[in-house]
Symmetry: C2
DNA sequence: TTGTATGCGTTATCAC
DNA sequence: GTGATAACGCATACAA
């Protein structure tokens, strides 16, 4: 079934059929009705390949997701999905390893899929500086800040993570904690971790709390298992910690399990704070104290921004969304 | 950049260029080398739309996911993704609400995307019987059984869920439990729930354990929040339960939180058992007793089966994968 | 308002 | 082994 068949069937030319099917003007009401009915009757659908070949573009928005064990991104993809569903565009999702080069992957996919725009869920500074110039469609970097990148087609939406982390650590300090350990990502590879690390450092320095990265920081991937491992490792170190801040909820949950397995109670013996605000955090025992990023807001703003740019607004915006610090049962005063 | 440019650049005709780029025979080694080098030099990539328009098909495998809060499917998608990445095919993922009609959606997407084959993550019996005949590409139903469907292009891969559930309940009975409640899906809408429910009934009947669905069964969606709600509801009922079996780990975790909030301890006061074997289950306190489905095996077999059929084997297979019952801390003998 | 004709980038069928 | 050339299904500029 092609527009040619539809043309033969209705007596109108393919031109008119095409115009009707694309809701274009300059078609008589009668022709429109006739053709629409005929199309509906046989469940006609335009051939996307022919359409896109002719128009030299797809109507896809591409999401590039760094790391699939990061549940936050899973939730984000879902939220983005439902927002894009309300637009004329299609969403194509591409997952890749946490530490691969997302920009090179994007360059590749742009050639292959010719998307209208790109959403990066997570991104590494070095990769962008090295190769982003090769991408010419509008992009939005989500959960990282692109303010000081020299690219006119790259917007960003993220939380004020460093500030939120700083305030979180400071609140731990207010609660009486002096021996605080951090579990986070590999700083040399993860900008997100770097930014959150800055927040930690600032809090420690301004409050004269001793913190020696080599001793008090453990690197891990963003997963339950690695959070578990990292906490176990902390327990082998000399210093005795009363609080652990984890740069992701999944790590925090792994850490809580590790502490429990070692006979420590959370929060009685050790307070644990995560980052992300995953739904599951509300349901574990104890409820997880965390820095919550609004998945809905992140999704909404990034899709809106991308749409604006796809549709010609041509603005490069860097939005900061406030993170919400949620003090729940897993942290306490000492 | 098109094969025309490549043709002009290398002096060979578009025919030869096309042959080289598709690894076809009847090309001289010299031509092959020259053209491959030229293509590599400018990072040439065939235009998928033109290709698929000409060939009248895509090289996509489509996954239709029912319900996105079901973490099991999330894990499955990931596992499937990595397996398909090792094939010549591309994976396109489509998410839909837990209770929509996945078959109608599939019919629609087949017209639109012309995939080589379909993977259904979850499926409803009624929907298949009503409309599946409209789909003519190879399909695999994952996590549900399609043995008694009259379709030659529908295979299936799933666990022996009813048996596993029956054994699980029987083991609860062996542990001394007599007052057992069930939290599951809406039976009229979820075949999966129906099948697991059969397992429950069989166990109760064969062991003469009283079970009245109206009193001892609560319907919920597959999410943390609904598991929480369902458990709270159980607590308002007359009967006092010593064990709750939940048809999904997410429900079980919600239920544990609800019990804890009501001053009950798990497993001391109430044992809780889930279904799925999600990674997080290993990390919550207490570790979740569960019926574990091997995500890896499900993914592997369903992709292999689909590939076989796409590549012409034309067999319709229904595989049963053994579920593993894992007794962990959230259940105990009384 | 409608019809006609051209070309998008590829593959595949022929001739050579 | 290689080179023309005709489709594939559609959008669109232009003619009517």
């Amino acid at each position: 079934m092609t527009i040619k068949d539809l043309s033969a069937q209705t007596g109108y030319s393919v031109g008119t059929v095409s115009r009707v099917l694309n809701n274009q003007p300059n078609v008589s009401e009668k022709a429109r009705r006739t053709i629409q009915e005929a199309a509906a009757a046989c469940g006609f659908q335009l051939n996307t390949n022919a359409q896109q070949l002719k128009q030299q573009r797809s109507n896809n928005i591409l999401v590039i997701v760094k790391g699939s064990s990061n549940q936050l991104f899973g939730a984000l993809v879902e939220a983005i999905q439902s927002r894009v569903a309300a637009t004329p565009y299609h969403l194509v999702v591409d997952y890749m390893d946490e530490y691969y080069n997302e920009v090179l992957r994007a360059v590749q996919l742009c050639r292959e899929k010719k998307p209208l725009g790109l959403l990066f869920l997570g991104g590494n500074r070095k990769h962008f500086l090295a190769d982003f110039e090769r991408i010419d469609v509008p992009c939005v970097l989500v959960t990282s800040d692109a303010t000081d990148f020299p690219f006119r087609n790259l917007s960003s939406v993220c939380c004020d993570e460093d500030l939120a982390v700083k305030q979180t650590i400071e609140h731990l300090i207010d609660l009486g904690h002096r021996d605080i350990a951090i579990i986070g990502g590999y700083l040399e590879r993860s900008d997100t971790s770097g930014r959150r690390f800055e927040g930690c450092l600032a809090a420690f320095q301004e409050n004269d709390i001793p913190f020696v990265p080599e001793r008090d920081y453990v690197s891990a991937r963003f997963s339950y298992a690695e959070g578990y491992r990292a906490a176990k490792e902390l327990l082998t170190r000399q210093r005795k910690y009363t609080a652990i801040f984890c740069m992701a909820d999944v790590m925090a949950m792994g850490a809580i399990r590790a502490l429990t397995d070692s006979g420590l109670r959370v929060p009685d013996d050790v307070s644990v704070v995560g980052f992300d605000g995953l739904p599951i955090g509300e349901f574990i025992v104890p409820r997880l104290a965390t820095v919550s990023q609004s998945v809905e807001t992140l999704a909404q703003r990034s899709v809106e921004l991308l749409r604006d740019n796809i549709e010609g607004k041509n603005v490069c915006v860097h939005e900061i969304i406030p993170a919400q610090i949620q003090w729940k049962e897993s942290a306490r005063a000492i």
